[in-house]
């Protein structure tokens, strides 16, 4: 355990050193991260004020709260591992990872957390600025704030594990962009990214409830917004726990199978 802690600490330093080399692309990347929820925020606020001040139970200011929190939640759980894996396998970089006596997922988690650590202050400032402009309605109870700590941690972990497992598709095919695209569309509609899921017709809500995505994005946002009852929060935590177990099993299985293929075919 101590060894892993040291590895994470060292990876943080390495990632930090590498990231500051590319300040411009870092800023561009962060702007892109901000723009998407900002567009939805403006669209839905406009729709709400055009239809008498609200859509469903979301007022203009509630939409502002939803999308500003979405920006932050998405920042916590976002990964880019799927883009990276294809490149790694093609370039033979994975061989170096396989030569090391540590599971490569640790380096990836550490790298993700490190770069999040670096970009989080920027995101908080942006969220604060947006809050000043859009006057969001965010009213979480103290217990909800407390609950958001494990909820956000699980959201990060489960999303990371799922997307890491999905990234391993690169072991089977060199055309991973198709699977990535399909996945992103799924996430966009069924996680609450494009709009709060409670505004969708019930069949879509039902589908979203059995899939992991809403528990990783929409649920933490609604919790922080102050829209959930303690019972709903517990249900969400339970769903996250179930998906944690599933995604861990998935990572183990996909990794083993992938390495078996890699070591049969070579690179």
């Amino acid at each position: 355990m101590r060894g892993l802690a040291q590895l994470y600490a060292q990876q943080f330093k390495t990632t930090f050193a590498a990231m500051v080399q590319y300040r411009a692309s870092l800023v561009i990347w962060m702007i892109a991260q901000v723009l998407e929820p900002l567009v939805y925020l403006i669209v839905w606020s406009t729709v709400a004020s055009g239809s008498g001040g609200s859509v469903g139970d979301y007022t203009t200011r509630a939409f502002a709260g939803y999308f500003i929190l979405l920006l932050l939640v998405n920042h916590v759980s976002y990964t880019w591992i799927m883009y990276e894996y294809e490149y790694r396998i093609r370039e033979g970089l994975l061989s170096f990872a396989l030569l090391k006596p540590v599971h490569p997922i640790h380096a990836d988690i550490a790298e993700n957390l490190s770069s999040k650590g670096i970009t989080t202050p920027f995101m908080l400032v942006v969220a604060g600025g947006l809050a000043l402009i859009f006057q969001p309605l965010i009213t979480p109870a103290p217990w909800a704030l407390l609950a958001s700590v494990p909820v956000l941690a699980l959201a990060f972990l489960v999303r990371f594990l799922l997307e890491w497992a999905l990234a391993q598709v690169a072991f089977w095919t060199t055309r991973v962009s198709a699977t990535n695209q399909a996945y992103f569309v799924l996430v966009l509609f069924l996680s609450g990214q494009i709009a709060p899921l409670t505004l969708f017709p019930w069949p879509i809500q039902a589908v979203a409830a059995v899939l992991p995505f809403r528990w990783l994005i929409g649920f933490p946002v609604e919790l922080l917004l102050g829209r959930l009852t303690p019972a709903q929060a517990l249900t969400g935590l339970g769903a996250q726990a179930v998906w944690l177990v599933i995604s861990l099993a998935l990572v183990r299985w996909v990794w083993r199978a992938g390495v078996r293929i890699y070591s049969a075919v070579g690179a």
Partner: protein, 326 residues
């Protein structure tokens, strides 16, 4: 004799490669029926390395050298046969094994491009869980042997190819592996840098008693480092033994270099004249007759200097490969 550090038994790797002809029709046909071909990259080879031995692993491009090294370092599963390294089956990739071996690929980089090498070294320290004192000592030794001092704090992308290779080698050896696989460690480097890396490998082997299996296309590497060589071609073993007996076995000739006072002499009566200029002659003679011809040369001609040599190792290797082709 101690148990071998590396042991290969009838090791085989067959790649399944899909093939198709060019053109639209062939592309469409391949949608329905994919033709595959089994390509044996390594076709049943066996040899052992004793602990502390340095062995040159030779063969032309595509002979199966890298595939073999990848199997021995656990990156590839063999199709058939077995191997143990330090008593471990490499492709099980047990952590205890991975901690004791390294693979250096001259054409691949593990160092992070944008940061100084030292930062990548620190990362390896954490990955291999090296105690601070051990790490410090090894790093100091490697810095000293490879003259890394001025390089450690420059971003890797600013290093020259040779400088980068030195750092790659250091990164791969920080955990002091007992078994070292080197795949073309000197490729693309200038002669001075090749020599330095060669000297380093010899010193690492001497100091730490590491077992080294080395592939290289530069015969100078092999001559300087390896008493013993293993030659493969088309995935099969052609030769396993001392470098000197490789020369013995595969060449029936020696060369005699003669320096005469006389620039006009005709030496054709003594052997095949390979080159001559300014009284310096290079003769190729059948090995069995070398002593007798040398005697005659010395007796008949005004010889200033005479040197009997085996043909250059490059020539020998080429000959070996050509015989493997037949």
């Amino acid at each position: 004799m101690a148990a071998p550090a590396i042991e290969l038994k009838d090791l085989q790797k067959i790649y399944i490669v899909s093939e198709r002809e060019t053109g639209v029709r062939a592309a469409l046909a391949s949608l329905v029926h994919r033709r595959v071909e089994a390509v044996p990259a390594v076709d049943g080879i066996s040899f052992d390395l004793a602990p502390g031995e340095i062995v040159g692993f030779l063969g032309p491009n595509g002979a199966g050298k890298t595939t073999t090294l990848k199997m021995l370092s656990g990156l590839l599963h063999p199709t058939r046969g077995g191997a143990t390294v330090l008593g471990y089956v490499p492709w099980k990739r047990e952590k205890a094994y991975l901690r004791q071996m390294t693979l250096v690929m001259g054409q691949r980089n593990q160092l992070v491009w944008d940061i100084p090498a030292q930062d990548s070294f620190e990362l390896n320290r954490a990955i291999y869980r090296l105690p601070a004192a051990d790490y410090r000592r090894t790093l100091d030794e490697l810095t000293d042997l490879l003259e890394l001092g001025p390089l450690l704090h420059k971003p890797v992308r600013n290093l020259s190819l040779g400088e980068r290779m030195k750092c790659e080698i250091a990164a791969a050896l920080l955990h002091r592996p007992a078994v070292v696989f080197l795949d073309e460690p000197t490729i693309g480097l200038d002669v001075t840098m090749q020599r330095r890396i060669r000297a380093f490998i010899a010193e690492y082997n001497r100091r730490f008693g590491a077992t080294v299996l080395l592939t290289s296309h530069y015969m100078a590497d092999v001559e300087a480092l390896c008493k013993r060589v293993v030659v493969i071609h088309h995935g099969r073993l052609l030769f396993d033994g001392d470098l000197s007996s490789l020369v013995q076995k595969f060449t029936a000739h020696k060369t005699i270099e003669v320096q005469l006072d006389d620039c006009q002499a005709n030496l054709r009566a003594y052997g095949e004249v390979v080159a001559c200029s300014d009284g310096h002659y290079t003769l190729r003679v059948p090995k069995a007759e070398t002593a007798q011809i040398t005697g005659r040369l010395l007796a008949d001609l005004p010889v200033c200097d005479l040197l009997v040599e085996d043909p250059p190792i490059e020539e020998v290797i080429e000959l070996v490969f050509r015989q493997g082709e037949a």
